[in-house]
């Protein structure tokens, strides 16, 4: 890509922004057109971070030790992540971290004990802090994060015990290979599977590799060294401070396996120090040729299209392998390659291009476009994964480590399947969710959800002009994907509310929310192209 390449019009700018982050408001379109793609991305990479999840929880009062036992309540974790996605200023970082959270999955669902929201905030901090950093650093912080330790059982993982027959837990060893680095099958640099002479895909690892690697992840537990304890009248044990959520897990050599580790061709000798063994194992995984195409393919799917060409994947994988300065795993290079690839910037295939926009991205995009605010600063948005009543998806609430949908999901007997294409987000699309989403919108975009209410502040001025309302929303929510016929249909419907320049704000909001409901329910919007 030429360094000075810039969108040639507002539509192209909005299209790019709605991939790079959640929303494409007017100021961002102007900035992007002025700076060009590369300049705009560099500015995002250099921009300061917003409030971290933990800082926000503290400020919102969710760290208080109360007799109600709120230190056990998980739902503040939902409030925290919704605040991050809908309101923190480092929007591209939030968007990138959300994509990462669907690759490196930790779900709040089973996180229990003291301070689950702080556990999730620390997890989110790992993703946001490293979103523009290096994959190798990210991988290590992911591995040692307390939330991941709780989710995939590295926390408290003990070495083998010949006396009792106990074996190390294999969960993290398996999933770090299957999901977080190399995947199941050997890949060519363009992400296509390598085939053996019989034409079959070649498996990357065996059960024996898992069993060996599991030894590396033994001996870890929460770091309680910075924790202070508060004695309270209503408990016969003290309440710990939240520090253990933030601090990486620590190694107790006594619980770490000293056995040698042979996995994927690497050999870590017997008795290697635990810290060194971890570094060697992560280095070995990081160096595996699969990581670039495996990770890059999924990041393309999250941000741009469900079905990238092998050459597109190959270019992103090449950027992963070398950022141009000889550095492997530079995520800035990956995001830049994903978002500015010629295939991404060219018009998408009219029959199969793009992807189904995720429910979370729809809601976050809407909120950041029309403006929302939490009246009490509490951001009382809960787990929205119920498909009959809300979005059918919620950040940091995956039902399992396999995310809400799989990269290879094929919606059965559809025309999509007949073409051989995949459509991951269709895994959460069904008769229930498609109606439940619309019902959720009907309420949330007019009245708000919890204490998070829309303002529509910038739009009230033209709310009496249906044509302008639709033009504005089509550009900013949908990068002008709605056809002229759909726009005309929506304009007519909005006009039926009879809002005039003299109507009050409530009436104007009725018109604006009607337009949002119609735009955001239209398949032409739902498929991001």
């Amino acid at each position: 890509m030429a360094d000075d390449l810039a969108p040639s019009n507002d539509t192209e700018a909005a299209r790019f922004l709605l991939r790079a982050k959640f929303s494409a408001p007017p100021a961002d379109i102007a900035e992007l057109r002025q700076l060009g793609y590369r300049g705009w991305l560099d500015r995002q990479f250099a921009s300061p971070r917003g409030q971290t999840g933990a800082e926000w929880l503290d400020a919102a009062g969710y760290g208080a030790i109360t007799e109600k036992g709120e230190y056990f309540w998980p739902q503040f974790g939902d409030h925290m992540i919704w605040n991050q996605l809908l309101a923190q200023p480092d929007e591209m970082r939030q968007r990138a971290a959300f994509a990462l959270s669907q690759f490196f999955v930790v779900s709040l669902n089973p996180i229990d004990g003291f301070w689950p929201p702080y556990v999730m905030a620390a997890w989110w901090d790992v993703l946001t802090r490293n979103a523009f950093g290096n994959f190798r650093t990210l991988l290590e912080e992911v591995t040692l994060n307390t939330g991941m330790g709780m989710y995939l059982n590295t926390k408290g993982n003990l070495k083998e015990d010949p006396a009792t027959g106990r074996q190390p837990d294999e969960n993290y060893a398996r999933e770090i290979m299957q999901l977080f680095t190399i995947g199941l099958y050997e890949l060519n640099p363009d992400g296509t599977p390598r085939l053996d002479p019989a034409g079959k895909p070649i498996e990357t690892y065996t059960q024996d590799d898992v069993t060996n690697l599991s030894r590396v992840f033994t001996g870890y537990d929460r770091d309680m060294s910075q924790v202070t304890r508060t004695t309270v009248a209503w408990l016969d044990y003290p309440v710990p401070s939240t520090d253990f959520c933030r601090d990486p897990m620590v190694l107790d050599p006594a619980n770490h396996s000293a056995l040698q580790v042979d996995f994927l061709g690497a050999h870590i000798p017997e008795g290697t120090d635990g810290k060194a063994a971890l570094a060697q194992a992560l280095d070995h995984l990081f160096a595996h040729p699969n990581v670039g195409p495996f990770f890059g393919h999924q990041m393309i799917q999250r941000l741009v299209t469900s079905n990238p060409s092998p050459s597109y994947v190959g270019r992103v994988a090449a950027a992963f392998a070398d950022n141009g300065s000889g550095v492997r795993g530079d995520l800035r290079a990956v995001w830049t390659a994903v978002l500015t690839d010629p295939e991404a910037l060219a018009p998408s295939d009219p029959a199969i291009g793009g992807k189904l926009r995720e429910p979370v991205a729809r809601y976050a995009g809407w909120a950041r476009t029309v403006g929302v605010a939490s009246e009490g600063g509490k951001w009382n948005i809960f787990d929205l994964s119920n498909s009959g009543k809300s979005l059918g998806q919620s950040p940091l609430r995956s039902p399992s480590v396999f995310n809400f949908f799989r990269p290879g999901y094929v919606p059965p007997h559809t025309a999509i399947a007949e073409t051989g294409a995949v459509a991951p987000e269709f895994q959460i699309a069904n008769e229930t969710s498609i109606a439940g989403y619309t019902n959720f919108l009907q309420w949330a975009i007019r009245w708000g959800y919890g204490d998070v209410k829309p303002s529509y502040a910038t739009m009230l001025a033209f709310a009496h002009e249906p044509k302008e309302v639709v033009r504005w929303l089509n550009l900013h929510l949908a990068a002008d994907q709605l056809s002229p016929e759909s726009c005309a249909l929506i304009e007519g419907a909005v006009a039926s509310l009879g809002v005039t320049v003299d109507s009050d704000d409530a009436q104007k909001t009725n018109a604006l929310a009607s337009a949002c409901l119609l735009v955001m329910s239209a398949p032409e919007y739902l498929v991001q192209k």
């Binding site: 074996q167 399992s400 008769e431």
Partner: protein, 468 residues
Amino acid sequence: MTGIVTESLTRRAMMRRAAQLGVLGAAAPLAIELTSAAEAAAQASSGDDYRALVCVFLYGGNDHANTLVPYDRANHARYAAIRGSVAFRRELLKDTVLEPRVAQTLTDDQQFALAPYCPRLKVLFDSGKAAVQLNVGALVAPLTLAQYNSPDRAKNPLPPKLFSHNDQQSFWQALGSEGSTIGWGGRLGDLALSSNEQALLTCISASGNAVFVSGRDALQYQISPEGAIPFRPVKHMPWATPAVSAALEQLVTRPSAHLFENELALLARRSMAMEGVVNGALDKVTLAPFDPVPDRNPLADQLEIVARLIGARRELGSTRQVFFVSLDEFDHHNDLPAKHARLMAQVDEAIAAFYRATVELGVAQQVTTFTASDFGRTLVSNADGSDHGWGSHHFVVGGAVRGGRYYGTAPHMSLETEDQVGQGRLLPSTAIDQYAATLASWFGVPDSEMATVLPNIGNFATRNLGFV
């Protein structure tokens, strides 16, 4: 302590006995009800040709060894030695020892108990309404340990990606790895489509999208625990106008040349078309609420809507249906005792409540429920949990089930025998295909069609395991 629950007991005798023994606890009402179930079944209208299969999928890989636990002293001692801290103490199992209706001699004279938090499944087993299929799992063809260890995979094929959650979920549901688009429940649905007035109500998931209920022709229809979800703003916009509702309906259902967009429109049309039909029929169903179940049992919620749909079968013109329900988070690598207790108690309550509902609806003989899961788990513990395994034990429940007995071969309680591949991962002695073929046969699939439903069934000598 044999035969504490039998159909011949009168209700009063049952109550007296339960009180005397004090063993049934929460399951006592069920036990009492089952004594009159035979009468209810006898009264059920004959000539109702309805049949339904209900798959209860335990996502994450259920720990079979703490679900069905050796109780005889010798095998329990082996179990306790291998499992260490996650093992049940023997005295905890005494109230849930299974009592086969006919004496069965199992491998190493094993006698089994259910986990103590499954008292209702015990009652169902003892009363002949539930069977246990031992060590069933993913196979392409029968396999010995030597064949498993043989490098000649062409001659000794293995299922793809053993021990991997998503692939083994897919294999249980569709006999292929992730990306498969046709499940065996869906194939059953293909054969049954013409039996139902509403073809779309042949294969139904009350859980999320599941390949199990997707056929070559049969589509998965998805229903929520609350019933079909209407597009409320299409019906009424309290803060806008009917014109907005009309525009919304047009927009969401309009065909498109883009395949993704068009698929969404098709989905919206299906959703809208079925909503009135389904909810209209559900409104006419009277069924006692699923009580007592604790306030939050998502599996019971799903099975309740399945029961209500079955209750609406005549109204909807359904005669053959395949249902899918599920419960998440069985991947108990740690904290197994507490987490397994919570989840399996939900399974116990939900399956019992569902069975009772089928009795109430007069279809106990016509509805067969079975469990499935990614895989079993290792016998060896990793301190307080277990790891991904292979073969597992499963339950089949219903009035038509030849229950109160075990099917298949009990594995040794061992880490060395030839029925396991390391750390106590069971090498399945029965294939999913055989388990499925038995259910399919009961569902009405003729033997000549079995290979279209289960392509590998020809690799196995026994097609009907006889449990239903």
